[in-house]
């Protein structure tokens, strides 16, 4: 065919389903993330606590066999290391903390690069909407954080169910539901915070600092309000206390904070709503400067 006959023709190949298009963004983001050896090492280390806890479940159920020569050790493992709500509470608290560090690592650079280099029109000129763009960036964090929060949590629940029998699993479905709901709430919160901060603060180190400050500064101001005005409502701006209270409520643990459970949920919902509003303001193809 002569060159001049090669004119524009519409693409006739198979189209990607509309609902999976946002997954293009995580695919490229993971390529970028995997380049950092430090992050890869840290991410693998994040899976170490669940592995240790899995070992603990194994020891709890097999202590009599393993420590048959040392009855005291067998008794210790079977009596004092019981697998209950406190066990899952500790595991999830630890994994939630690690999830925040992972978000701190990769979150600040997710949107800021696109905004700083005027790359947003390039995304939005393709068949991908603003919502899908945000969903795609959210998925980058959401999938990674799932790997270190609810997936190992449910794995531990399944392991305990296998050893203790399905009767235990049916009696304690609350634990599985709590792991899912609590992790989802925490993943949503820190992912939206990371995206909102990344959209508003274009320098990555500064964005990371702001994210860190929201967590620490919010905690300090919450405690300060409580101490100055002799109240407990200041804890509503303390993200650590809020998520801790939610875990306590979900797992049925002993309440250590005086913040009502509904207030913790309201605080988290308002926080997420604020982050979505911030994203809505910034994620636009063109920034109109008045």
């Amino acid at each position: 065919m002569a060159v001049y006959e090669r004119t524009y023709k519409r693409y006739k190949g198979a189209l990607t389903p509309q609902w999976t298009r946002f997954l293009v963004l995580p695919r490229y983001a993971y390529e970028e993330v995997a380049k950092s050896k430090l992050f890869t090492i840290f991410f693998v280390l994040c899976l170490l606590p669940p592995v240790i806890q899995a070992g603990r479940i194994y020891l709890y159920h097999n202590a009599a066999k393993i420590f048959s020569a040392v009855p005291a050790a067998a008794e210790f493992f079977s009596q004092f290391m019981s697998i209950n709500a406190e066990f899952f509470g500790i595991v999830m608290a630890m994994q939630s903390g690690l999830a925040f560090i992972v978000a701190l690592f990769i979150g600040p650079g997710l949107v800021s690069k696109d905004l700083a280099n005027n790359g947003l029109p390039l995304y939005l000129s393709r068949p991908i909407s603003r919502t899908e763009y945000v969903l795609g960036k959210f998925a980058v964090l959401g999938i990674l954080l799932s790997v270190i929060t609810w997936i190992p949590g449910l794995f531990l629940y399944a392991l305990q169910s296998i050893y203790a029998g399905w009767g235990w699993a049916f009696q304690n479905t609350r634990f599985a539901a709590s792991i899912l709901i609590g992790s989802a709430a925490w993943i949503c919160t820190i992912s939206l915070l990371a995206l909102a901060v990344s959209a508003w603060v274009r320098w990555r180190p500064v964005a990371g600092f702001v994210m860190f400050m929201v967590f620490l500064g919010g905690g300090f101001f919450g405690l300060m309000i409580n101490a100055l005005f002799r109240t407990d409502w200041g804890s509503m701006i303390n993200l650590g206390v809020v998520i801790g209270r939610i875990w306590e409520g979900l797992l049925g643990l002993r309440v250590t904070e005086n913040l009502p459970l509904w207030a913790a949920w309201v605080s988290l919902a308002l926080f997420c709503f604020g982050c979505v509003q911030m994203l809505n303001r910034k994620i636009r193809a063109y920034e109109v400067v008045s």
């Binding site: 180190p205 990371g208 600092f209």
Partner: protein
């Protein structure tokens, strides 16, 4: 022109390798200070420092005007029950003015000394001047330290005064001038300055090593927060350990705390200064081997 004539007209300058020209170094540091102080105190960069330092003051003003002060009997009780825990931190993880706000301010102020220059692609202007790298590090550190010390001295004083004033000027002045108030205030200002010195040196070093120093900073914060449950030897490898022993009003440490021998003030202050000097020496060494590479920033 003969070679002899050239030799007589242009006297070769031999580098002074035997000793340092301290007068020149002092002038260079003064020059860096002039430039950097303006940046640290008057530029847009300083907004974070002012916001962090003075936002608690706003809350204290609201408290001073509210009826919440009525439950306290006087300035002494207010300082012991309200100011001391807010300044030193609340157990279990000690979120307080010093371990949180001064920590974060030191992080943003000292870490950005070199990082912001790299992000703004302006570090090479400094590196092209005939200034030794360690002199540059010293000058930048001193400028940030002076800025942080000024801001936190003022904010600590304001917080302390706002705690005392709601009980009447008479009671407040009696507590401050005739009671232990002035001593407490001076000690708290000194502690704020010590925190700036210690954390500042650490974060300056982090800014020289890491492109994104937030994650290492998060680890340092975690280390400082769990300091009280660490074994005695490990407790000493932190800034907060030396500062906590100097609190004029001791704070409850919680049931998890590991009891250790308190470091005396005569050891704490020189210990922190020696630690800072070592960190700064390391930072100077690092800056001397640093190549300006703006790629990826």
């Amino acid at each position: 022109m003969t070679s002899a004539a050239v030799g007589s007209s242009t006297k070769p300058v031999s580098p002074n390798t035997s000793g340092l020209d301290w007068g020149l170094i002092a002038r260079q540091i003064a020059g860096i200070l002039r430039l950097e102080l303006r940046r640290n105190l008057l530029s847009r960069r300083s907004f974070g420092l002012y916001f962090l330092a003075f936002s608690p003051v706003g809350l204290f003003v609201i408290w001073a005007l509210s009826p919440a002060t009525e439950v306290l009997s006087g300035p002494a009780e207010a300082v012991a029950q309200v100011f001391a825990p807010i300044f030193g931190g609340f157990p279990p993880i000690f979120l307080g003015y010093l371990p949180t706000i001064i920590f974060l301010s030191a992080l943003i102020t000292f870490m950005s000394l070199f990082r912001s220059e790299i992000l703004e692609h302006s570090l090479h202007y400094y590196y092209l001047t005939p200034v030794r790298r360690w002199v540059l590090v010293t000058g930048k550190y001193c400028s940030a330290l002076i800025s942080a010390c000024c801001v936190f001295s003022v904010s600590t004083t304001l917080l302390f005064l706002l705690i005392c004033i709601p009980f009447g000027l008479g009671d407040a002045s009696q507590y401050i001038l005739q009671g232990p108030g002035l001593g407490y205030l001076t000690t708290y200002i000194g502690l704020a300055i010590m925190a700036c010195i210690g954390y500042g040196a650490v974060f300056l070093l982090l800014g020289l090593f890491f492109r994104n120093a937030i994650v290492p900073a998060a680890f340092i914060w975690a280390w400082e927060s769990i300091n009280f449950i660490l074994p005695s030897l490990l407790q000493k490898i932190s800034v907060i350990h030396y500062i906590r022993t100097l609190y004029p009003i001791p704070l409850p440490e919680g049931w998890l705390a590991v009891t250790t021998d308190a470091t005396s003030p005569w050891m704490s202050v020189p210990g922190l200064l020696i630690f800072t000097a070592l960190v700064l020496t390391f930072a100077g060494w690092r800056a001397g081997r640093m190549e300006v590479n703006y790629e990826g920033d």
